[in-house]
Structures are given as C-alpha cells and as structure tokens.
Symmetry: C2
Subunit: 371 residues, 2 copies
C-alpha cells in the first residue's frame, strides 16, 4: 500500500494531492434530499444502489433519509455493508457457486438478505443452503424486460420459475426484479418513457399470471437514475434502485430532460494537475486510465469548455487546448467522470469537500469487492 | 475491505472464487527468461516497467534475472517498491507539485531515484529540493520522438533543457528518455520498425547536439514490449523499459510478428464463471468493468473461439454463444485481458498457478497508487 493519502481533514482544496476523487457535499446532500422527498411524496420505496459508491457512510445517509435498505452487485460487497450495520441488502445479481451461496446465507444471520434468480439451478443451490442452515432469504425472479442481459423471458418461463421459488420454503419469493439497464441512457425523454412503458407492461403480465395461479407477488423492483420517474408513474413498480443520482456523471448529464424531470447535480469529481505542457495546444494531466474509467467516454473538464480530453493512457490524460492563454503548467483542473461507478472503484477514499475545505474522508470500503 | 479472498495456497484452480486475476507461473517465467537472455546477448540493459504489475515480488524476480532496476509512473508507486527493497527506481513521468517533489527526494535516501522533465519549471522545483536536502537524483529529459504526449520537441528546446539540467548540480543529468508509446501497438512489423527508426534518428540528433556542446549524455532509455527489439538494433538506445512482456494481453497479441521477433506468451488471465445463461446464444459472466479494463477493447475468451464478449457492464460480461452445446450455467471460463496494466490495477492480488494449483498469492501492493 502506498504510504500517502490525497488529503487530510481541514486541508484547503488547493492542497489536495492529485489525482483525487472529490465529493462536493453540498451538491451530494441536495441530490439525496431531492430523491428522498420526491419518492416520499409518491409513496415509492428507495432501495439505494450501493454499487455506485461502495461506501458505508453514504449508505447510512441514504437510509437516514428514508431509503429502506440498499442493493449491491456482489456478495462480498454486501458483506462490507452488513459489517457496517446495514440491515437490508439485496444482491441484484445471480450466484451459482457453493462458496458464494454459503457466504450469502452467513450474512443472513445479521441482515435481511435478498438475491436474484433466473434459472432453476440457482434456486436449487439456494434451497439446499436454506435447508442446511434454516435461514430465510428473499429471492426475486429477474425478468428480462428489455435489457437483454440476465433475466428469464417474461412469459411462462418467468411464471414457472416464480412458482418454483414460491414452493421452495424456507426461500421467500419476494417478487420480480425488472431492471431495464439499457434504457437508462437513452438520450430522449420519449425514448426512455416508451422503454419503461414496455417494461412495465411485461412486468404486469407476469404478475397477473402469478396472481391467477394464486401466487402472491409481494414486490416489483427495478429502475435506475435515468428512468425511475417512469417506473414510479407505471403503477406497477413499488421500489426503485437508483444509485448514480447521488453523484451524476458526464454520461447521465447527456440525457435530455423534460421540465417535469428532476435535476440532479454533478457532485463527484476528479481533481487533477497539469503535469506537462509541451505545446501550446496540448497539455497533459496526471490522471489517466487508472484514475477514471473510459467505458462511457472521456471525462469532461468542469466549467472549461475550452479544454477537451482527447486521449488517456495509464497515468496521462491528454488535453486539447483551444486557448493557451488560459492554462499553465501546474494548473489544477477538475474532471467530471464519464461513468461514476467504475471510476469510484479505482479509489480508496472519497475526499469530501465543503466551503473549499476537506470536511471528511470517507473510505470506499467495498472497492475491489468482486466476489 | 471485503473479508474474503479468491483463493488460498494449495487450492486447485477449479476452487478459486471468481472473478480472480490469475498468473500462469510457467508462462510468466518463460517470458522473464526470454527477455533476460535476449537483452543479455545484445548487451542492452532492462529497466523493467513496474506499472504493469505493481507487485514487488515480480520486480524482485526481474532484478534477480538481470534487470538493473525498475521504472514506475507515480512517486507513490515508487514508494511501494523502495519500501520493498528495490534500489534503483526511475519515475518515468513529470512532477510539478511541491508535495510530490519532497516525497521523491525522501525516497532518494533509500534508493537511486530518477525522474523526467520536459519544462524548466520542473527542473527548478527539483533543484530547490535537491539544494535543501543535499540529495542527488537522476534527471532525464523526455524528448517527444513521435508519441505526442509529454516531452520537449527534439530540437534546440531539448538541448536547452538538457543544458539547464546539466548545469543544475546536485541534480544529475542522466540522459534522454525517448519512449514512443503510440508505436507499441502498430500492427505491422514494418510500421513499428519505421516509427522507431524515426525516433532513434531524433534521439541521436539531440545527443549529438549535446556532445557538440560538451554535455555528456550518459544514457538513452525508452522502448516497450511492442518495439524494444527495434530500439535494441538502433545503436542509440542502451536501456529498454518493457513491462507488458511478462503478462501479454489481447491487444499486444494482435501485433503481427516477424520470425525474428520474440514470442511472449499469455500469462495473465481472469478466471470467471457463467452466472446466468438466459438464452441459448447469450450467457453472462460474473466479470465486467470492475474486473477488466476495456480501453483497448474487450477481453478474449481463452481457447474458446466459439465465445465472444460483446458487452460489459459494471459486474457483467455478456457472451455471444455460437454453439450452445458447449456451454452451461456454472461453467468456468478464462479471459485474456484486453489491456493488462489497468486490469491489474483493479485487483488486490495475483493468484499464481502451477500444475493446476495455487502456488502463491502475490499482493499487488501498488494498486491504486495514483499520487
């Protein structure tokens, strides 16, 4: 481990060593408040997605503001949050290996745990461990409502699998997981609305088929930051799993909004330094592929439309400079990550800023929790 | 921190929890041996690039096999290796902040340290600290020989900057750093050869101009895994900085080779599991953007041309399946990373394999060392 950290509490922003992952606490708190008050008015539960932040301090704030619990993508990620005292954790993913199943049930001794299935083999693995331990967990059937990633097809397969779960006590059939991942970044409001209308119709058909068979479907959960208002309005979803709303990234900010949409602010940034300035129209930052993820494109430079990141290598970000009079070697620049989740996963801590000073340092305790 | 690890020493490969970063020790050792014996015959020094592995165990093996030291990209990365006992570390990067300069000189109390400059301000910052501490470090002038990233232009600017360093005792002018990054992945041998011929000619011109002024240029260093034989043959370079040769990634394996080129083997892999198999022609792996970097494209599936990774989200890799009879839920698949360096940076440890068992677990001690 490197012996150094980017900052200490009380430091001024200008003395933070770079690159560093920065959280603007005022913007972050406004985002948290906006989501909480909106969902509260609508009577829809928030199960905050913790894969975005991997940070127990943030999960606790989300729950204090009304979230009923969190979701994670990995059992090992869930372990970090359970250890930190979170009492309701849904792993929004499938697991099949005996090691992971065993660990999931171990966590169920300390918290209400949930998991997804989209195949009878996963149900069998969970049931064996439930019988062995006598512990109960929530099991959701993931339905493919348009993302074409995981999930059973929304037809008789979904009903058959839900029936299998419902008949597999002590597993608890907890409902349907209907997350439309690929709808989150459709740029036009009408595109997102249509995608979620289709997803909601499919979810409703599965639920109705279950009810017709006498199987109660306690909950339909899903949604992300890009579409959750559509799920709220569907009359079908009663829980949303937004995560990125606390941070907002460049990719999300490129979604066009309607006036009725909520405006979440950029709260997550990367503080960088111009470490080389070899030519008037080319400067080089001390942040590259190991300081930000590029899967959703390059970061933007905050409030500097004159600067554009054109290339990233391991530890360099190359800037196209349109006005050389506005930049110098040693300048500090702030980036908005292209995609917040995999960027956060590159850092050990969030440097939390208010009034131009470091107010807190929050460990990203579940960074690298891949298992 | 997650309480679990992927494997323990002695485990069979099939029991490693996934996703996990795997090192095939036999292939790795053959790669190390091939590079060492080749450079030894040619009388060219290897300064192994440790940004690829961030692992002191590997650096020690490289040095035991003849490398004269290592290079790093960050001062904090260097700190990890100096702490582990490495005695000769070149930071192949520029630094400008007082904090980083101070830390670099602090490391010079325990090891021979080097750094790059491409601007007089960097020289001034280093000189002030050298005078304050009385410590000596190696300073290389980075020359832009074609990469168009950092580096002074190979004309009178390079000579002027080298003269400034040479006149700035106790800084030691150590030579020219002439790394042609963008040549490494030119696909055709002739393209790479031409690029390095141009780079070598530029490096020679700067060196000759220095000599004409009475300034000794002790060394010309650079090169990577894609081109180092060209630098060796140039008659100009006397040190190469290859890093990826120990692992090899999918991107490097797509370089076409001549018969005279060396064949390094894939030694670095990601062990994964099929966690969802919802449709005959679509399976989903438990490894996504947080388990591999996609900046150089998707990983390949090792020895399985029937499978192709088409999409990655945070924790999912979507596989196009051409022959459904050859894959099942729970299957374990091995990926070859698209780009080894940022992939290694996602993991805390290398799970080292021989004879189908875990022989060692090597911490990636400089993971996340961004400062």
């Amino acid at each position: 481990m490197t012996p150094w950290h980017s900052a200490n509490i009380g430091d001024s922003i200008s003395s933070i060593d770079t690159p560093a992952l920065i959280l603007d606490l005022d913007a972050f708190e406004r985002n948290i408040e906006l989501m909480a008050s909106t969902l509260n008015k609508k009577g829809i539960r928030l199960r905050a997605h913790a894969k975005s932040h991997k940070c127990p301090e943030i999960a606790k704030i989300q729950i204090a503001k009304g979230a009923i619990g969190i979701c994670c993508q990995k059992v090992s990620e869930a372990a970090v949050f359970v250890e930190a005292g979170i009492k309701d954790v849904l792993v929004t993913n499938q697991i099949i290996s005996p090691t992971k199943v065993k660990r999931l049930f171990e966590l169920a001794r300390s918290a209400r745990m949930g998991i997804l299935v989209d195949h009878p083999q996963q149900v069998a693995a969970l049931l064996a461990e439930a019988r062995l331990t006598g512990l109960e967990i929530d099991v959701y059937v993931e339905v493919n409502v348009g993302s074409n990633r995981c999930g059973v097809s929304p037809d008789k397969d979904a009903v058959t699998l839900a029936r299998l779960v419902a008949e597999s006590a002590p597993l608890r059939f907890a409902g349907l997981h209907c997350y439309h991942g690929s709808a989150q970044h459709l740029r036009l409001p009408a595109e997102r609305k249509t995608a979620i209308q289709v997803a909601s119709k499919l979810a409703k058909e599965v639920r109705d088929a279950l009810v017709a068979e006498g199987i109660t479907c306690p909950r339909i959960t899903g949604a992300g930051t890009g579409t959750f208002l559509n799920e709220c309005d569907s009359g079908i979803f009663d829980e949303v799993q937004a995560g990125s709303y606390i941070f907002m990234d460049r990719d999300y900010s490129e979604n066009q909004l309607e006036t009725s949409d909520l405006h979440f602010e950029h709260a997550l940034f990367i503080q960088t330094t111009v470490m080389s300035y070899p030519e008037p129209h080319r400067a080089v930052l001390d942040a590259g592929l190991k300081a930000f993820s590029v899967d959703s494109g390059m970061p933007a430079v905050w409030k500097r439309p004159d600067l554009k990141l054109t290339k990233a290598s391991d530890e360099h970000g190359v800037l196209a400079v349109s006005d050389p009079s506005r930049i110098a070697l040693g300048d500090r620049l702030t980036l908005i990550p292209g995609h917040c989740d995999p960027t956060v996963n590159l850092y050990d801590a969030l440097v939390c800023i208010r009034n131009k000073h470091v107010e807190a340092i929050w460990p990203i305790s579940a960074r690298g929790a891949l298992l």
